[in-house]
Structure formats: structure tokens, C-alpha cells
């Protein structure tokens, strides 16, 4: 085993975060020092992972790292291992980027809170937990990291414990999260009982083909356990509560990072550990849950009247896209799913930061109370619009590029497999997209446009640090949207290749030839081809758009477009007043929850049913979790 320097980078990337958390406990009372430590640790972590891009992503190396150099002994992986293939690195990079930006944002965002030292400790714990989860090569370590991140996330959700519902959200999250954790632990030990190893690679070699009732139940337990971390459908109310109550910088992590860790684990489970994705029934399970998440959460979001809660529901809706695409078990599907996962981290982070900026300046995120902030916060508005366009898939932003690939892959799968279920998944995906647009139109009308309420006359733009953080995300959104071919070639396709390279993963850890010798069925390695059935060249499109826009602008300015008159004096001239049927304009904001009543009216039965269902009682949510567990277990027992 060669020990190039970069072999140590994964563990360092994790440990530097925990070290930072530890140091902040000690030095956290000094303001500058604590910012310095936090920034330094997240920067170092990000830098270490970027350094890994070249060997892992481009050269396809899989880094297997044994703690204390305790390699396999007697064919059993005893030591604690970290294994970084392109998939892990991909998620690791997402985590590191989101954590970095969130940290930059936190410095000014959290400046009015007390106990900020604890905040940074928990923040770095959360970051380290997720980072450890995605880089770990060991099932039990994954459990430990899940517990760490759940703890940190719960504590951070309740961090502003005077905010409305923060404690309640934290408690619900803790209860259902613990049900999930219990499931993960039970599943882990059941696998251990069967295979006597916890190492991921070795389990992946031993389990496929040797399924019995115990492993199937373990699979169901693990699947549900990690689903609670990804917040997919029966667990989505927790996400809404937790995202809504947590500080915005934490919402970025919960939605952009925590959900990804759950997704990562589901991919690892289904593509590596059990290698069941080739089965149509398993694909059905993932696509079904993905489509359900997509649709239910987007309709729930339409009914929300809190900015962050709405974003939270959208977050799950987008996770539904990822899950659906990943569940297709095609190279294109996985690649597009990962692409969308990345974009989701970027644009949802941006949107949460914008929501945080609004909260920071106005003290509320209630859509019914806000309005007209675009005049006071132009930068935030611009960044919000970038995020909103991205999430609703408006070309040329990144959301479109990935959604477009998702549609193609689902529909292609539908046509190739002849299964009409995938057809409906395509339709749901396309309709969800326009519903997403609708709810972001609602937000932009309710928060940033429309009339400015009297009490927000003196609102100002957010400080530069927060703008910088939003700017980082916004630039990333545009760049990844404009160069989808580069992103797919250098980021998502290597990761998708890694998904279909289970035997490589096993061999890197256990020594070459191990997979072939141990496995009773050969590892799944379908022909990895990236078929595109459509064309989309965003750069050329943008170029044409810019030329056209320029031409039109020139014509417009030539044609008296500049004869613009606007109000100059402070007292309102009636000419520049709004037209109110002749009346003097009064404050009248059209927005908030009922903006799309024409749509909701036709679906009032559905919406009132959903409203009743999301009762806010923790027992109900626990019941959903238990029922989901029972159903998935039953389903798996039937199909395997």
C-alpha cells in the first residue's frame, strides 16, 4: 500500500473539524480567536478535499485508509477504515463547500446572539459528523457520525430557544431521529451477526447473494434509519420544523448537508452493501418514495406562510428528485441525481441564506407580514432571485441543467423498461418543477416585491460578510448551470462511475482480487454509458440571449425608452403613486399563503387533508416512522 501524503487527507479533513470544535470550547470566549479557529478549520478541511480531486476524481484512485495502519488480518477487516472513492469525495466536497460558506455567513449573522462559542462548537461538530459519515468506510462509524450530527443538529435547532417553536422542533427531531438511529444501530448489529464484520467493503463482498431474512430486515432497518436522516417522505415534517426553527446558517447545513448524508448512505446501502438496485422492485421503491417526496412536499410548500418552512419543504421536494434519479440505476440517472444533489446544496443554501438575511434585518420570516424589501435590500433580492430561478429550473441556472438531465433519464428509463410507472414519475417531476416555480413566485411577491410595510421603512442591506457568503453560492449556481458538461465530466460522472464500481471499491480496501474470490454473484457493473436524448448548450444560449438583449436594449433606448420619469421629491406626487382605482394608495400587499387560491381551490380536499395530517403532534410523526418501517420491512421481505 503506497502511502502518498494525500492518503492522510481524508482523516485530517474530518479531524480538523473536530479539533476546531474542541479548541473553540477552550478559546471560545475570545471573539476573534473563535472566528479564526472556525474559519481556519473549515478552510483547511475544504482545501484538503480539493487537493484530493486530482487523484480521486480525475485518476480514479480509491483511497483506503486504515487507522493506525491496521490493515486486514486473516481476511477480516478489523481496524477502523476510511475509504474515499469519487462518490465519497463528491459528497465530501459538497459538505465542505456548504460548511465553508455557512461559516463565513455565521460570523455576522450570529453576532447578535449570545453563547456564540457553543454555537461554533456545535457547528463544527455537525460539519465533522457529516464529513466523517461520507468519508467513513465502516458501518458502525457511520452510526457514530449519525449520532454526532443528529445531536449537533438538534442542539443547533434549539439554539435560539426563544424563537417560535425551536424547542418543539428540536424535540420532535430528536425523537424521530432517535427512532432512526435505533433502526440504524439494530440494522448494523444484525449485519454484524451475519457477516462478523463492520467494514463496508467486506460487507459489500459478503452480503450480495447471501441474503436471508435477517439481512433483509437489517436492510429495511438501515434504509428507514437513513431515510430519517434524508427526511424523505414520511419524515418530512421534521425537516420543515427543524429547518424553520434553526438559525439560517444551520438550515443551510441541515438541508444542504444533512439530507445529503442520508442520501449518501442510501446510495451506499443499495448500490454497494446489498447491490440490489438492479431489481425492478428496488428501483420502484426508490422512485416511488422519491416521487412521493417530490410531489407531497411541493404541495405542502405551496400552503406554507413561513419563508423558511416553505424552503424546508422544497428541500425535501428536491431530495425527491435526487432519490428518483438515483433509483433508476442507470449511469445517466445516477449522474443527474448527483448533479441535482450538488445543485440543491448550492441553491437551497443560497435561499436559506437569503431567508436568514431577511430574518436578520426584519426579525420575521412570516410571508404575510413582509413585502417590498427589494427596494431596501437589492443585493439580497438579486441573490434570492438567482436561487429561486435555480431551484425552479429556469435556464440557464444550474437547477435547469440537472433537472433536464433528470427528466431525460427518467423518461428514457420509462421507454427502455416499458414500465408506465416511470412515465408517471416523469410527469410528476415536470409538474413539480412548475409548482416549485409557483411557490417561489409567491415568496418573491410576498417578501421582496409588492408593498413595503410601514414598520420596515428603516430596513437596511445586510452586512458585507453575509452578502459575500450569498455571492459565493450565487456564483456557484450560475457557473454550474452554465457549464453542465464540465461539471458532469469532472464531478458527477466520476462519482456515478464509482457508484457502479462496487468491486473496485471492495478490492481497494481488501486487496485486489478479493471481490472476485469471495462474492457469490459478480459485482454489478452495468455498461456505464451516458445517453442524452436532448440537447442543451447553456453557454451558447446565454450568448445569444445577451446579444439579443443588447440589441433590444439599444433599440429600446433609441426608441425613447429612456423617457423615464420617476419620483424625485420625498412627498408622494400622485403621479407616481400606485393606481388604486383613483384612490390614494394604501398599504395593500397581495401575497402570503393564499396567493394561488385558484389552484388550491380545486384541490381544497387534498390540502385540508394534508393540513390535518401534519398535526404537529410528535406521536403522529413517530407513528409514521414506525408504520414506514413496518411497510418497508414487509415490502422487502416480500420482494427478496
Amino acid at each position: 500500500m503506497s502511502t502518498a501524503l494525500y492518503q492522510h487527507f481524508p482523516i485530517l479533513a474530518v479531524m480538523v473539524l473536530f479539533l476546531g470544535a474542541f479548541l473553540i470550547v477552550i478559546f471560545g470566549n475570545v471573539k476573534t480567536l473563535r472566528h479564526l479557529i472556525a474559519l481556519l478549520s473549515v478552510t483547511v478541511s475544504l482545501g484538503l478535499l480539493i487537493a484530493l480531486v486530482k487523484p480521486v476524481m480525475l485518476e480514479g484512485e480509491i483511497i483506503a485508509y486504515w487507522m493506525g495502519a491496521r490493515a486486514t488480518a486473516g481476511g477480516y477487516a478489523i481496524g477502523i477504515a476510511m475509504e474515499v472513492d469519487a462518490l465519497s469525495l463528491f459528497f465530501g466536497l459538497l459538505v465542505a463547500t456548504a460548511v465553508f460558506v455557512s461559516c463565513v455567513y455565521s460570523i455576522q449573522y450570529m453576532s447578535h446572539d449570545d453563547n456564540v462559542g457553543q454555537y461554533y462548537t456545535l457547528f463544527l461538530m455537525l460539519a465533522g459528523g457529516v464529513m466523517g459519515l461520507v468519508l467513513s468506510g465502516d458501518l458502525f462509524n457511520m452510526f457514530i457520525m449519525v449520532e454526532i450530527l443528529t445531536f449537533a443538529a438538534v442542539a443547533l435547532t434549539a439554539f435560539r430557544n426563544t424563537a417560535k417553536g425551536a424547542l418543539e422542533a428540536a424535540f420532535k427531531y430528536l425523537v424521530v431521529g432517535c427512532i432512526g438511529s435505533t433502526c440504524i444501530l439494530t440494522g448494523t448489529v444484525m449485519l454484524y451477526a451475519q457477516a462478523h464484520t463492520l467494514n463496508f467493503a467486506q460487507l459489500s463482498a459478503l452480503l450480495p447473494g447471501n441474503m436471508n431474512t435477517a439481512t433483509v430486515v437489517a436492510f429495511a432497518l438501515l434504509y428507514i434509519g437513513f431515510s430519517t436522516k434524508a427526511f424523505i417522505v414520511p419524515f418530512h415534517p421534521l425537516a420543515a420544523d427543524a429547518h424553520g426553527a434553526a438559525p439560517a446558517s444551520i438550515s443551510v447545513l441541515i438541508s444542504g448537508v444533512l439530507t445529503k448524508s442520508g442520501l449518501y448512505a442510501i446510495i451506499r446501502l443499495s448500490y454497494f452493501l446489498f447491490q440490489t438496485m438492479e431489481l425492478g422492485t428496488m428501483q420502484f421503491l426508490l422512485v416511488f418514495m422519491g416521487s412521493m417526496s417530490m410531489f407531497i412536499c411541493v404541495t405542502m410548500a405551496l400552503a406554507q406562510h413561513d419563508f423558511k418552512r416553505l424552503l424546508a419543504f422544497h428541500s425535501i421536494s428536491q431530495i425527491g428528485y435526487v432519490l428518483t434519479a438515483v433509483g433508476l440505476c442507470t449511469a445517466m440517472g445516477v449522474s443527474s441525481g448527483l448533479y441535482h444533489a450538488m445543485n440543491h446544496t448550492l441553491f437551497k443554501g443560497l435561499l436559506f441564506l437569503a431567508a436568514g438575511a431577511v430574518l436578520h434585518q426584519t426579525g420575521t420570516t412570516d410571508l404575510d407580514k413582509l413585502g417590498g424589501l427589494s427596494k431596501k435590500m437589492p443585493w439580497t433580492t438579486a441573490f434570492f432571485l438567482v436561487g429561486a430561478f435555480s431551484i425552479s429550473g429556469i435556464p440557464p441556472f444550474n437547477g435547469f441543467a440537472s433537472k433536464w438531465m433528470v427528466y431525460q433519464s427518467i423518461y428514457l428509463k420509462a421507454v427502455e423498461s416499458g414500465n408506465i410507472g416511470f412515465l408517471f414519475a416523469t410527469i410528476i417531476a415536470l409538474v413539480t418543477s412548475v409548482l416549485t416555480l409557483a411557490s417561489f413566485v409567491k415568496v418573491s411577491q410576498s417578501v421582496f416585491f409588492g408593498r413595503l410595510p410601514k414598520e420596515y421603512e428603516n430596513v437596511t442591506e445586510v452586512p458585507w460578510g453575509m452578502r459575500l457568503a450569498m455571492c459565493l453560492f450565487a456564483v456557484l449556481c450560475v457557473v454550474t448551470g452554465l457549464f453542465p458538461d464540465l461539471v458532469t465530466r469532472y464531478l458527477t460522472q466520476p462519482a456515478a462511475d464509482a457508484v457502479f464500481n462496487a468491486s473496485g471499491y471492495i478490492n481497494a480496501m481488501m486487496g485486489s482480487g478479493y471481490a472476485e474470490s469471495v462474492m457469490s454473484v459478480p459485482a454489478m457493473a452495468p455498461a456505464v454509458t451516458y445517453v442524452e436524448v436532448g440537447v442543451w448548450q447553456p453557454v451558447s444560449w446565454l450568448l445569444i440571449l445577451v446579444i439579443t438583449l443588447l440589441a433590444i436594449t439599444i433599440v429600446a433606448i433609441g426608441g425613447q425608452y429612456d423617457r423615464v420619469s420617476e419620483s424625485v421629491s420625498a412627498p408622494m406626487d400622485s403621479k407616481y403613486d400606485l393606481f388604486f382605482g383613483g384612490e390614494e394608495s394604501v398599504y395593500s400587499q397581495v401575497g402570503g399563503e393564499d396567493l394561488f387560491w385558484g389552484f388550491k381551490h380545486n384541490w381544497r380536499g387534498y390540502f385540508s387533508f394534508m393540513h390535518k395530517l401534519h398535526s404537529g403532534i410528535v406521536n403522529d410523526y413517530s407513528l409514521w416512522a414506525v408504520v414506514a418501517l413496518a411497510l418497508v420491512t414487509l415490502y422487502m421481505l416480500i420482494v427478496f
Binding site: F449, V533, W541, L549
Partner: protein
């Protein structure tokens, strides 16, 4: 040198032929014909066919008032962006076999690009701060949601039909749709595509916001909704965008369902014994003329006629209509296509 020439050629594409000037002239012409024919059907004389041109130029000469409550940048930029996006959209829609920028977009991209003009209008209206605009944008968004489902179903049905016929399994790209129709005749001749074509005809007035689906721009009740605060040139540009949208959707219909006529034109040119660039030029020219004529016919059928015989629907009725009747038709088509008819 050749770079300069091709750059000039592309600039010509953008600014003149399927681009800006073409859209401007044909779009406003379509709008004028629509107004004239609606008047005819109501037993009126109606405005001159060039009336939309007069309207546009008049609006260019008017003062543009930015309300004090509006966010100036978005308010003034929204119409320009919307128009630019529409013109670009028109560049991607093939005129039979000819596309100015081939291989840059497919039907799913078109589906999303179609959202941009509507979105520009929505954001412009939102930026004006008027409550009328608020109500208008709410209705516009619901109209978009309503039209989206049938449009999606139609496009998927077309993609499936073309894909299974050409053996690719699935095709979203305009190039292969056009090539397929040139070889095998128009898609509308297939049994499975007839409901889809009817559904698409019903989608056209909804997407363009024409009667009876114009709840979003109801002049009499909400002062034209999102446009309530617009005046002068920006208003003119919105009106122009509305006219061009009619051209875009009708030519999309031609490209999707009537592409077979293109091969007829090519044969006609071949019969005339022309070859080389002259033949290409003539084919494109004839194709453009035929497209414009077809667009006029489609406008008359799907926009003017419907306008004349119906009364404005309420917004929830629009939603219901599209998600039941029109989507049902499109779904029939999709299912038929799925089983290879």
C-alpha cells in the same frame, strides 16, 4: 475572415431572419389578424390589420412612469428580458428542416424557456408593487401551472412517438423530430397524435393569455393585472412579447405536428430544377412563408375563433379545464403512443 462572415451570418439570424425583425413583423401581424378576425366574427369591421404596429409605436412615444413604490431596475428590465428570451426561443424552433441554431435546445428546454417571458411579466408586475399586479400574477402563475401539465404530456407523447419510430426509443431533439416528419409525413397524420394536436391547440390560447383564459390580464376587473403600472415603451414591449408568443406557440405547433409539409416544399424546389445554395435559400424562404401562413391559420382557429365564441373563465375554471379536459386528451395521446399506435 470566415469567422467574421459566420459571425455576421449568426448576427443576421439573431437580428433579422428567424430572429428579432421576423418576430416583430410576423408577431404583430398575427396579432393584427387576430384582432381583425375577432371583430369580423362579432360582426364588426375591426381595427386595421396594422393596428398592433400603431399601438406599439405609439407606446414607444409615451412617457414611462416608474411608480414610487416600484423597484426600478426589475421594473424596467423585465420587459426587455422577456422579449429577448422569446426571440431566442423563436431561434430554436425549426422552420421545417431549417434552424438558425441547430442542436442547441430540445423540446424540454423549450418548455422551460417558455416560462421566462411569463416570469418576466410576473416579476415586472411584482416589482411595480401594485395590488392589481399581485392578483394578476397570482392568476398568471395558476394559468402557467394549468397549461404546464397538458403541454408536458403533449411533448412527452411526441418524444415517444418519434423515438419509437426512429428506433432511438426516445427523442427530445427538434432535429430528429423534423427529420422524422420529413421522411414519414406529418405527425398529425398518426392516430395517436390527433388528441395531442387538439390538446396543443387548446394550450395555445392559455399560454399566450388570450381569451377565454385571460383571467390574469382582465382589463375590466383588475386593470390588466401585472401590466397595471406599466406605461410607455415597457408596456409596448410587453404587448409585443404577447404578440410574439402567439407566433412562437403556433410555430411550435407547426414544428411538432405539421413538419411533413417541409418535405413537400423541398420536393417542389427540387422539381424546379434548382440545386445548391439557391435551392436551400428558396426552400427556407418558401418554408418561412408556409410557416407564416400556417401560423395565421392556427391563430385564427385556436385564438381568434375561441375568443369570439367564449366568455372569460374564472381562474379556478381555467385550472379545472386544463387539468381535466385538455390533460385528458393529451393523456389519451400519450397512452396511445406508449402502445405504439
Amino acid at each position: 475572415m470566415s469567422i467574421v462572415i459566420s459571425a455576421l451570418q449568426y448576427l443576421g439570424y439573431i437580428l433579422i431572419f428567424p430572429g428579432f425583425l421576423f418576430c416583430f413583423l410576423v408577431g404583430l401581424l398575427l396579432s393584427g389578424i387576430d384582432r381583425k378576425l375577432v371583430a369580423k366574427m362579432q360582426k364588426r369591421v375591426g381595427p386595421p390589420v396594422l393596428q398592433p404596429f400603431y399601438d406599439f409605436f405609439k407606446l414607444c412615444g409615451k412617457e414611462t412612469i416608474v411608480p414610487a413604490a416600484a423597484s426600478k431596475t426589475v421594473f424596467l428590465m423585465a420587459p426587455l428580458v422577456g422579449l429577448a428570451a422569446l426571440v431566442v426561443l423563436q431561434l430554436f424552433i425549426p422552420i421545417f428542416q431549417f434552424t438558425a441554431f441547430s442542436g442547441m435546445a430540445d423540446i424540454i428546454v423549450i418548455l422551460y424557456l417558455l416560462l421566462i417571458p411569463a416570469l418576466a411579466q410576473i416579476l415586472g408586475g411584482a416589482a411595480s408593487g401594485s395590488p392589481y399586479a399581485g392578483v394578476g400574477l397570482s392568476r398568471e402563475m395558476v394559468t402557467i401551472i394549468s397549461c404546464e401539465l397538458p403541454l408536458v404530456l403533449v411533448l412527452l407523447a411526441v418524444a415517444k412517438t418519434v423515438g419509437s419510430a426512429t428506433g432511438e426509443g426516445l427523442s427530445f431533439s427538434f432535429a430528429s423530430i423534423a427529420a422524422y416528419q420529413a421522411a414519414n409525413g406529418s405527425l398529425i397524420l398518426r392516430l395517436s397524435m390527433i388528441p395531442a394536436a387538439i390538446a396543443m391547440l387548446m394550450v395555445i390560447p392559455g399560454e399566450t393569455g388570450n381569451h377565454p383564459f385571460d383571467a390574469a390580464e382582465a382589463e375590466t376587473e383588475i386593470c390588466e393585472g401585472m401590466l397595471a403600472e406599466y406605461s410607455g415603451a415597457p408596456l409596448g414591449i410587453f404587448k409585443l412579447s404577447h404578440a410574439i408568443k402567439m407566433l412562437t406557440l403556433t410555430s411550435l405547433f407547426v414544428a411538432l405536428f405539421l413538419g411533413g409539409i417541409g418535405s413537400g416544399i423541398a420536393q417542389l424546389v427540387a422539381l424546379m430544377g434548382l440545386t445548391g445554395p439557391a435551392a436551400n435559400g428558396l426552400t427556407v424562404l418558401l418554408g418561412a412563408i408556409v410557416t407564416v401562413l400556417l401560423c395565421i391559420v392556427l391563430t385564427v382557429v385556436s385564438i381568434s375563433f375561441v375568443h369570439a365564441v367564449t366568455a372569460r373563465l374564472k381562474i379556478e375554471q381555467i385550472f379545472k379545464f386544463y387539468w381535466t379536459v385538455v390533460s385528458g386528451l393529451a393523456l389519451i395521446s400519450l397512452v396511445l403512443a406508449w402502445y405504439g399506435l
